[in-house]
Symmetry: C2
Subunit: 225 residues, 2 copies
DNA sequence: CTATTAAAAGTCATCAGATGATTTGATGAC
DNA sequence: GTCATCAAATCATCTGATGACTTTTAATAG
């Protein structure tokens, strides 16, 4: 029974180290055994040990200090959470991003600066139609508008998460769905700007929600096929 | 003038490789120069090159295939987005997480299963008070309740992002704020369960928002000091 | 000429040994 | 007790060699 886990020694060594950390046998802040000891423990050469350690260092789990040793920085891989997000289905990612949009608009209505409104109005004008410069360019301009709405919320964490979702989604959209999603009208976008500018959080949230809903429904139809 | 850029050769080699990828000189899907060439390009030994490549592999930028070569998987470091989120201020992270909570409750009201409601009622009972088993344990039980609300939304992407924020926030909370935040009452939590169970999305969202607001205000006061 | 097979070249994977750079703790002088 | 010095421990880096795997090329049979 030869398992299909055809992996190299470096990877399995890194996995071993990771499990030691995860199991708490090497607590955070503690120094792990030196390279010579790891060579014995893992039964691989020093170069392989170093590559495995390097992998965990680049993931933020370990830290090497020349002359001193190698220390545990964290028990769990922070990037693992992000990987799990990326592995959730496109529909959930899209919905989560849409909800961020809604709440960001609500905050934007309360906190926007005059400069924010000016930026939104400018981006709305520049958005134009699909005919101007091709579909890809239009999507970029559309994204810039929505990102500006999130930016007007004044919450940097939301901006970063929104960017993350946008990047993850556009990767998939570009390769699978080709122009199958409805493009909300300029009028719907204009209403968002006015709602934010009015300072009414409920109106701002509703305006974004209203125009996200049909897109989400269409996405559901496409993905159910 | 010795700048504090005290880094090792492996790190700088990895940075060089990363910049080649980021600049598009090594497009996604393409094979990068072989190890011998990289040794010449970077002016370091083969072991160092391999460690640098290994670092980028573990970050998902490169992929090595024995006998074939090393290939570019992505242009941008996905983990970088996560780092940027972590570097945003605690207040913004808390707010973003709270807004996820609100929208998750709205979805939960629409999509919850009977099992979800049963779980929420059980966790509400188990939540108890701070007196039961100490503050840390109470926080864990409280988190479990809120996570269940998000889970009832049926959106896995939101669950993962929520977990990410929770992990990032509790790291800081545990070390800086010691019991300075108000603990919403059992009654407020019970109202969330009832609102979700009622199937009214606006009521569910409002119930979560109502009890997040005072916490956020208190956090603002604490952080402004 | 085509398809199959075999050889060869190219590339990463791994091992082994040696030397340098840095940190850390001990030793000893004052 | 404080400080300088030294030695041990540890990671960083280089060099050379061999193995494993993939891809390309060449040879061969049909």
């Amino acid at each position: 029974m030869k398992q299909a886990i055809r992996t190299n020694l470096t990877e399995s060594a890194a996995t071993s180290l990771r499990s030691e950390i995860a199991a708490g046998r090497w607590p955070v802040g503690e120094r792990i055994p030196n390279e010579a000891t790891l060579v014995e423990m893992l039964g691989v050469s020093r170069g392989t040990v170093r590559e495995a350690v390097r992998a965990l260092v680049s993931q933020g789990l370990l830290e090497t200090r020349q002359g001193s040793g190698t220390y545990v920085l964290a028990t769990a891989d922070p990037a693992a959470a992000l990987d799990r997000v990326r592995q959730t289905c496109l529909r959930d990612q899209w919905e989560a991003r849409a909800l961020l949009d809604v709440e960001a608009a609500r905050l934007a209505a309360l906190r926007h600066t005059p400069a924010d409104i000016a930026t939104l109005r400018r981006l709305l004008l520049e958005r134009g139609t699909v005919a101007d410069g091709g579909r890809q360019a239009f999507i970029r301009r559309d994204l810039a508008f929505h990102r500006a709405v999130v930016g007007a919320s004044g919450n940097q964490a939301m901006v970063e998460i929104y960017d993350f979702f946008t990047a993850a989604i556009t990767d998939v959209i570009g390769s699978t769905l080709q122009g199958d999603l409805p493009e909300p009208s300029d009028q719907a976008h204009a209403e968002i700007v006015e709602a934010v500018a009015s300072g009414d959080p409920d109106r701002a949230a509703a305006s974004v929600r209203a125009f996200m809903t049909p897109v989400l429904l269409q996405l559901d139809r496409l993905l159910s096929k």
